[in-house]
Symmetry: C2
Amino acid sequence: MDIAIDVMGGDFAPLEAIKGVQLFLQSPQPDIHLTLIGKKALITPLLESYGLSENSQISVVNAEQVIEMHEHPTKALKEKTDSSISIGFYLLSAGKTDAFISAGNTGAMMVGAMFTIKPIDGVLRPTIGAYMPKQTGELALLADVGLNADCKPENLNQFAVLGSLFSKHILNKENPRVALVNLGEEEGKGNLLTQATYPLLKENPQIHFVGNAEGRDLLKDKADVYICDGFTGNVMLKFAESIYDIVTERKIQDAHFERFNFEIYGGVPVLGVNKPVIIGHGISHARAFDNMIRMAKKMFDEKLIERMRSSFAS
Amino acid sequence: MDIAIDVMGGDFAPLEAIKGVQLFLQSPQPDIHLTLIGKKALITPLLESYGLSENSQISVVNAEQVIEMHEHPTKALKEKTDSSISIGFYLLSAGKTDAFISAGNTGAMMVGAMFTIKPIDGVLRPTIGAYMPKQTGELALLADVGLNADCKPENLNQFAVLGSLFSKHILNKENPRVALVNLGEEEGKGNLLTQATYPLLKENPQIHFVGNAEGRDLLKDKADVYICDGFTGNVMLKFAESIYDIVTERKIQDAHFERFNFEIYGGVPVLGVNKPVIIGHGISHARAFDNMIRMAKKMFDEKLIERMRSSFAS
């Protein structure tokens, strides 16, 4: 398979992306080809300084432009056709690569995924998830975390299916438990959205629904997939990120809170679009890029997109 | 002033309520009379064992029934007319006490506040807030945290006024900063609710609006009052509570995380009703009861309800 990487995306581009590639290739990856997108004049010497070069496993595609973090996504994608993100989506939609990874402008990545790659037939709204570190040492998936600020019950019901497939095939959870983020445990509790969503989840034969989860359950082992609207999920995720900031500032050393360093996970895919698209955290370092490349590989190996298509074909 | 306390409410009733009364009276409180509501046969000997008794400062009102934690609020209030919560609201609405405190059934306290005490004229929906411990050592107020699962922009705008008055007069913040909990910092970001709320807050002359706050800002010093719908606030609060659980379980000793022990704060008032009603955490101990009594006193001394009435009279 071919995996395209936006080497210019992220706060530490292109250095950390290149280091991530080096890290990934430290273990033999016989069937993987990596396409690095960015300013060739920058990338080539950097590759060399890390003992890499263009070869049968690595090629560089030149992109003279970069979509900066603050730019308006739609406008930038339209105007900067020679940017690393635009070229990445071109390669992906043209079938010249099998997956696309960037830690660059999140909005541009979302817009590209939605409008260039497009949702899987039957998926009303794709979603973006994030990991929640459980006290058990495992990771739960929380979705949506910001792609869909306002949701309808049917959206949440679909996130549950997409999240379950991700949990099963990428996080290796057999029969993943799905919970609805809510303000009370009992059926019937909630705002209008969750009250209307609960019966849909309960009757959905494609998921293993275990009921409502309160805020206090998110870091516990109540479920493997937590479903909520993108507003709630975004506020929760950023709150959780700030806990790690506080722990770090206060020099607290603790193995569990170390797992609140969301940067180490690399990124999560846009779930429900027709190709693997992985959006990394802006502050991604080498390990994050390595993890994202591994995730793209696993999504491909596990045929995740095909499985999602089958789920929504019926 | 007279403060009525439901001595039967909370997981450690009546013991911890009595201990809280003892704690409160350890400093001279010349102008305060406390009305303790509950099973007199239980309370009298307990008072004695803590060196207290019915006197000019303490009286006991017998209540033979208790609304248990799991009971349906409206049904329980209707049927258990001889319960400590029902009698508390009766005393408050009849003007026989000036404030009512309970760590009992939260739903019954909300229903009582809403339907017996009633909202201040002009207040569409009262709200319940919670404290968020800032890294500065101060407390911010987060409202709503669950009384209003679905909100309209005008509700949030009113919570901002109520929260500002609370912050100013109870938490002593001069010109408290108000922020809108949102999924991005820039104006225009958000879900339909926050997008429509932002301009109302911006144009509200009764508050000092400082813009949007993301999840990561809640524990920082971005604002003194954070406004959100009760669904988001409830999920956030319970998530924050679980952080303290994890810190405790992992035996992490840290002064800042100690402040995530929400129990110590005692409780927060229902903001926007005609009398001081304070709802405590179920697991309230003596210190929490002491804090709640002090808060009721301060609300009275600072004429918080009258100030709220003036704000909404125009």
